[in-house]
């Protein structure tokens, strides 16, 4: 592996992790913008705009964008989170130049009114799709409840109302505020041509104008709370809980990841043995989300309605026990090993590494070589994990549920 890094005069940074033995090149344009950068009137605009980028800029029409991607046999897409929007593609090395050319053109979109009107219908369908999936809806409810007014609680999709009311010019205004080169990173992984890439990106994106792209990083103010949203038509109960965790910039993020893995990282975790193995819940897991300035633990469980109280009690007691008593050396060894193996396996394809490399720069202005990440996990001690627990994250638990339940708060 070789690591590359270059910043253009307008602030656009290009980073790379070169892998000589790869068969492909992956390129991603990472933008530091998402739902948390929206106001309520334009809720969902980041994600809607992400769709609109595929409608083309000066050079391509909506149909042509997909034809050019497909002509390269590209594996490509985009995603929007609460704080990032990422556009990416993976192609055979011979198509590197065309891929960069296309992505760069997309990211200066025309936002044609007719495309906007048609794509609005697609977004409304996407919102309808998730209405049918309470396992997703409970995540939105948990995020919103935990943050109670803080922008990190904003919905990525927006609502039927906010999207229906959104106008093209408001989207353009948002685009112009957020898609500045100093608010973006281009990441390359795999078998790329570095000199060609920076020369091309300088030529195509060098004229993009930098500007001030502030983001409010006031910390969320979570409070312990419980909120049940009755949906009598459901057969099952979907629970989610959120607790504070280290931020993306905090060195204790590795320990937070290990802790989450031990508590609920799948088969073999504490929540699995307590809830899933005996068949009390169908699923129960926890993940650590690193976020800009304020991380969080997200816990999910689903069960039959009559077992809701039992499941909530077991989730709470599992969290409280680990907080009071810490973890065992055996758990730590297994977790470190499993995470390290997962990192190495995932790194074997350029697509598998792209997000890590792009996020490293977006969040921390560094590139951490994969071997360093592995070493940092392998070097973690029980004391490192205890330091995360000493913040007593699970005392501040927001717990929400959707299902045939009685309302509570």
């Amino acid at each position: 592996m070789r690591y590359d890094h270059h910043t253009l005069p307008n602030g656009l940074t290009i980073v790379g992790e070169y892998n000589e033995s790869a068969q492909s090149v992956a390129v991603g344009f990472f933008t530091r913008t998402g739902a948390r950068d929206e106001t309520p009137e334009i809720s969902g605009v980041s994600h809607f705009l992400e769709h609109m980028m595929f409608k083309g800029g000066e050079r391509y029409s909506a149909e042509e964008v997909d034809r050019v991607f497909a002509g390269m046999g590209a594996n490509y897409n985009a995603f929007t989170s609460n704080e990032t929007t990422v556009y990416y593609g993976a192609v055979l090395p011979e198509f590197q130049e065309r891929l960069i050319e296309l992505l760069a053109d997309m990211l200066r979109p025309s936002l044609r009114q007719s495309d906007f009107d048609t794509e609005k219908k697609v977004i409304l369908e996407e919102i309808a799709m998730y209405k049918d999936r309470p396992s997703y809806a409970v995540y939105d409810l948990a995020r919103m409840t935990y943050h109670h007014g803080h922008p990190l609680g904003n919905s990525v999709l927006g609502s039927t109302e906010s999207i229906s009311a959104l106008e093209r010019d408001r989207m353009l205004e948002y685009f112009e505020r957020r898609y500045a080169p100093n608010n973006m990173v281009v990441a390359l992984t795999g078998k790329y041509d570095w000199q060609a890439a920076i020369a091309q990106i300088e030529q195509v994106c060098g004229t993009w104008q930098p500007m001030d792209t502030p983001r409010a990083l006031t910390p969320p103010q979570p409070i312990p709370q419980e909120r049940m949203q009755p949906e009598p038509q459901r057969d099952r109960v979907y629970l989610a809980a959120v607790a504070p965790a280290p931020a993306a910039q905090d060195d204790s993020r590795y320990a937070a990841d290990v802790l989450a893995w031990i508590i609920g990282g799948g088969r073999g975790s504490r929540l699995y043995w307590a809830l899933v193995y005996p068949g009390i819940a169908q699923s129960a897991d926890i993940s650590y989300y690193e976020q800009d300035g304020a991380g969080a633990f997200y816990i999910f469980a689903s069960c039959a309605p009559e077992r809701t109280t039992e499941v909530i009690d077991l989730v709470r007691s599992t969290l409280q026990t680990v907080q009071a008593e810490g973890i065992t050396e055996e758990e730590l060894t297994r977790a470190r090993r499993k995470i390290a193996s997962g990192l190495v396996l995932n790194s074997e394809t350029p697509m598998g590494r792209l997000t890590s490399v792009g996020y490293d720069w977006l969040y921390r202005q560094e590139i951490e070589p994969l071997s360093d990440t592995v070493d940092r996990f392998l070097a973690l001690t029980a004391a490192d994990v205890d330091a995360v627990l000493q913040q007593r994250p699970f005392d501040t638990l927001t717990l929400v549920g959707i299902g045939p339940l009685a309302e509570a708060s």
């Binding site: 492909s24 997909d66 002509g71 190495v344």
Partner: protein, 410 residues
């Protein structure tokens, strides 16, 4: 660099296929056993699912916890599950620990403890999975689709049926394990930083003395008559499935079908995505994909849209499926070809993807396809050749299933 793939067959009928991938530190495997929903004992739909849950609750000398801990200590990333024709056990890890991990799986598959006290918990989890289908209407649609398209054992849900699950007792599961978890017709597929001789030696040591042949698969029929059925559920989106018969892997015209499908649905530039989503904004999701079984195949199209637009969506999809028989353009063929080959090259970077693909090939046609095989087959098809084929093989006898608040007219 040509691929390095070796295939072997143990005396007991278990196939072993190995792809050595240079520069790769991992090894991934798929162990395929011919115990799927289609051969669940009569009246015991879901038996393969229960067995798959039970065998991880203790095997060899290890109880459930020791088993799970041993796999985690080796860093095994676990996968697999129960399908119509078989159950798979897959995993990946760093190459040096492969033998130890496979030895644990040999215990799981061959020497499970099947503790009677665990059956209710495993059954309960399966029943919960069935219950949760209502909260994922797309999944429920596919589950119901198979039952409607293939009446009889082949269309069974891999999750089973609640009343039949209740009837499966511990003794019948033990008997089922002895009858179906057998090597003949099974596959061990391994890909990554490992030499074929080492895999063969390990496979012989762990599986060489395993003997027996699982029951034969039922012979299903592709539907020869059009069919429409509606499933009532108060959902936000109507779920739409459209299926028609296709050609199985191994058929001389398989790649003609595959390229035709690539024009219809291979990418976001394909006809379904362009006509249904980009031009009309009718859906978020629309696609058609092949379902390959041994000796037969079908193409299954899917879309989800709000009820007031379901009729238009079905109409546009059916029109596009029919229009393929008017032929495709040179540009469309070129994109479909590039898409197929590029996906294969990228699959070649992932040991897990290769292990899975080779296991499927071995099951379906008895040999793994190489990238060169596929390239040669795809590049030999000319525009005229493809269009001759498409015009004389119009998709027909559509099976249409909708799930939602109201039916459509078909």
């Amino acid at each position: 660099m040509p691929q390095s793939i070796h295939t072997f067959r143990l005396d007991n009928g278990l196939s072993v296929v190995v792809e050595t991938m240079p520069h790769v530190r991992s090894v991934a495997w798929t162990l395929l056993v011919q115990a799927g929903a289609a051969t669940d004992p009569e009246g015991q739909g879901g038996a393969a699912q229960l067995l798959n849950g039970m065998i991880f609750r203790g095997a060899g000398e290890r109880d459930a916890r020791a088993l799970s801990n041993a796999l985690d200590e080796l860093g095994v990333q676990r996968g697999g599950g129960v399908g119509t024709e078989y159950t798979t056990f897959s995993g990946s890890l760093l190459a040096e620990d492969f033998d130890d991990a496979l030895a644990i799986y040999a215990d799981v598959v061959r020497r499970p403890q099947l503790p009677a006290g665990e059956l209710d918990a495993v059954r309960g989890l399966t029943l919960q999975s069935i219950q949760s289908l209502n909260d994922n209407p797309g999944q429920r649609l596919f589950n119901e689709f198979s039952k409607i398209y293939f009446p009889g054992p082949f269309g069974r849900s891999s999750l089973g049926e609640p009343d039949e699950l209740q009837r499966i007792d511990h003794a019948s599961l033990q008997a089922d394990h002895a009858t179906r978890y057998l090597p003949a017709g099974g596959v061990l597929s391994v890909a990554g930083g490992i030499e074929p001789e080492r895999v063969l030696e390990t496979a012989r040591r762990l599986f060489g003395d395993w003997q027996g042949t699982p029951p034969a698969l039922p012979q299903p029929q592709l539907r020869a008559e059009p069919l429409y059925q509606h499933i009532q559920q108060e959902t936000a989106q109507t779920q739409i499935a459209i299926a028609y018969s296709s050609l199985p892997l191994g058929d001389p015209h398989y790649y003609h079908e595959r390229l035709g499908l690539g024009v219809l649905s291979g990418s976001m530039a394909s006809r379904l995505f362009t006509e249904v989503r980009i031009k009309r904004g009718l859906v978020y999701t629309v696609y058609a994909s092949p379902r390959l079984h041994k000796g037969l195949a079908l193409i299954l199209g899917y879309a989800g849209t709000q009820p007031e637009r379901a009729q238009e969506t079905v109409d546009v999809m059916l029109a596009e499926l029919a229009r393929i028989s008017e032929g495709v353009t040179e540009e469309e063929l070129s994109r479909a070809r590039t898409g197929l080959l590029s996906a294969m090259v990228m699959q070649g970077e992932s040991s897990s993807a290769r292990a899975g693909a080779m296991a499927s090939d071995m099951f379906l046609i008895g040999r793994p396809r190489t990238l060169d095989d596929i390239r040669a087959a795809v590049e030999s098809i000319t525009l005229d050749g493809l269009n001759d084929y498409l015009t004389s093989h119009q998709p027909q006898n559509f099976t249409v299933i909708t799930l939602g608040p109201a039916p459509v007219s078909v």
